[in-house]
């Protein structure tokens, strides 16, 4: 039995696009904000021994929080896990890629995010004054 966390996507479309038997897939519907709920996600992954675990979304290009999905694969030990979409594409977990690409990228993202927020705290009040002055 495979475990699939569904984010807005449809099980039938995902199974058809990835050649899976729907009867062999246990589905848990989640909102992508639930990825912050570590106990729920990890708890479900560790509830029983699955053949594999997937996060299923509509389109990979538009899916947020993919780093954290991969982190769950690592923490749960499902290193064959993948993020899949309804168009048949898959973003598979790779330990090497995670260490050498995704962790550096999340650090860059974190630094860039801090800069964006600081910049916005300066810019937004100025824009408010400028855009609303008569």
């Amino acid at each position: 039995m495979k475990l699939m966390f569904l984010i807005d996507a449809k099980k039938e479309k995902l199974c058809s696009a990835h050649g899976m038997n729907p009867d062999d897939v246990e589905v848990v519907k989640i909102d992508d904000k639930w990825l912050a709920k570590r106990k729920i996600i990890l708890g479900k992954m560790k509830e029983k021994k699955y053949e594999n675990v997937y996060f299923g979304c509509i389109k990979l290009d538009y899916q947020r929080f993919q780093f954290f999905m991969k982190l769950y694969f690592l923490l749960s030990g499902y290193i064959g896990g993948a993020i899949i979409d309804e168009e048949g594409r898959a973003n598979k977990f790779s330990f090497v890629k995670f260490i050498f690409k995704e962790i550096p990228m999340i650090i860059i993202e974190a630094v860039a995010s801090v800069i964006v927020i600081i910049y916005s705290y300066i810019k937004f009040p100025i824009m408010k004054w400028y855009l609303t002055k008569k």
Binding site: I7, D8, K10, K29, D31, D32, K33, C57, I58, K59, D61, Y62, Q63, R64, F65, Q66, F67, F68, I106, I108, E109, A110, A112, S113, V116, I117, S120, Y121, F124, P125, M127, K128, Y130, L131, T132
Partner: protein, 397 residues
């Protein structure tokens, strides 16, 4: 002053919604766009993601940056610069008469376009983002959110809201009430009509001999789906062959499952998940009674305008709705539907039973609902109200 000449409207949706092309916001936008088309006007649509639009409507996508995808809200402030730079080129090409923007968090692009291009700016507001995040979600970067929200609300030439309650809230929030126009949501009676049929759905779902109590919509905070879930045990006690169908999906789905499992009636419900917008009339066609058990918010009154209510009406369905906010105005108890007190699952079940046990009442309510949907709630009236607001803005200049 603008005469009755045809106009070109630019719709702008700035929220990040992934690749989801179903749900309430889509129904709202498609409804309005078709309303403008019915009146002979041209529309194009600018959005951050894919969208299923009516034929003849051009879609321009301005995607969010791929860099900011792992931390909450950070992607939004950055989208201002990105989206404004891109939309200027689109405006140069399309030359719209005015901007109709759906209000979303951390974005001040409408104010920017008005200031720099002089584009008349009509803002659609279906909730004060600061309030929504604070009460229903998580509030990060609250100052940024308020600065952006205040900018848009203050700079807009006119604001379209969906209910009187929301207008009151905006005025309390400090917005000039003179520029706020109350325009409830609507429906296309030529798309939602009784004869459309279920396209074989009832048979394929094995529900041919069942009494179907139906709900459509997102399972969000104000929709009252928990109340409906709580009422299932009362419904099946009185109507043993009833099935309660939840057409949609959302955050409260686990709550529905938890309640009905606790009450031992999980096998009496059906949750479809999101269905394509074009299939919703077919699902509605199966319903014997349609329900809208919306609830007030914890510390303020219900301010929404449920699209589902107008769709039920246009389908000629007998409706049971809670009496909160606009629902208590649109539904006249015993005339075009039955009302119940909010958060009263037993009373909801009782009203459903009244319809189940009185076919004449069900027919009468359904016919009157359909008549009123055609006469008062067609999306074209909504589009006309926005055009009137635009004409008012241009007339003043």
């Amino acid at each position: 002053m603008v005469s009755d000449e045809k106009v070109k409207v630019m719709f702008w949706r700035t929220e990040f919604y992934g690749a989801l092309t179903e749900g309430g916001t889509v129904s709202l936008h498609v409804g309005k766009i078709r309303g403008f088309q019915k009146l002979g006007h041209e529309v194009f649509y600018v959005s951050s993601g894919p969208m299923k639009l009516p034929e003849g409507v051009k879609l321009y996508q301005i995607p969010y940056s791929k860099l900011y995808r792992n931390f909450p809200e950070v992607l939004h402030p950055n989208y201002n610069r990105r989206s404004i730079n891109a939309i200027i080129k689109i405006i140069e090409k399309e030359q719209p008469n005015f901007l109709h923007k759906h209000h979303h968090d951390f974005h001040y692009g409408g104010a920017w376009l008005k200031k720099h291009l002089g584009l008349p700016f009509i803002l659609h507001v279906d909730g004060i983002e600061y309030w929504v995040k604070k009460n229903w979600g998580k509030l990060y970067f609250s100052h940024l959110l308020r600065w952006a929200e205040d900018t848009e609300l203050e700079a807009s030439d006119a604001i379209i809201v969906i209910s009187d309650s929301l207008k009151r809230q905006l005025v309390e929030y400090g917005v000039n009430g003179d520029k706020i126009h109350v325009v409830p949501n609507g429906v296309h009676p030529d798309q939602f009509y009784p004869e459309i049929g279920d396209k074989g759905l009832k048979k394929s779902l094995g529900l041919e001999d069942r009494f179907i109590v139906g709900y459509t919509g997102t399972f969000g905070r104000w929709h009252g789906v928990e109340v409906l879930a709580e009422s299932v045990k009362h419904i099946v006690k009185r109507i043993p062959n009833a099935v309660v169908m939840f057409v949609g999906d959302g955050d409260l789905r686990p709550k529905i499952e938890e309640i009905t499992k606790r009450d031992g009636v999980f096998d009496k419900i059906m949750i479809t998940g999101f269905v394509p917008f074009t299939d919703i009339p077919h699902y509605l066609s199966m319903f014997d009674v349609a329900v809208s058990p919306c609830i007030n918010n914890d510390d303020n009154e219900f301010f929404n305008s449920p699209v589902k209510l107008f769709e039920y009406m246009a389908m000629g369905k007998p409706i049971v709705a809670s009496s909160v906010g606009q629902q208590g105005v649109v539904i006249e108890n015993g005339v075009n539907g039955l009302l119940h007190e909010e958060k009263q699952p037993e009373e909801l079940a009782e009203r459903i039973f009244e319809i189940y046990s009185n076919k004449d009442l069900a027919d009468r309510l359904g016919k009157e609902a359909r008549r009123r949907a055609i006469e008062k709630h067609d999306w074209k009236f909504n589009a006309q109200a926005i055009l009137d607001a635009y004409k008012g803005v241009v007339g003043k200049k």
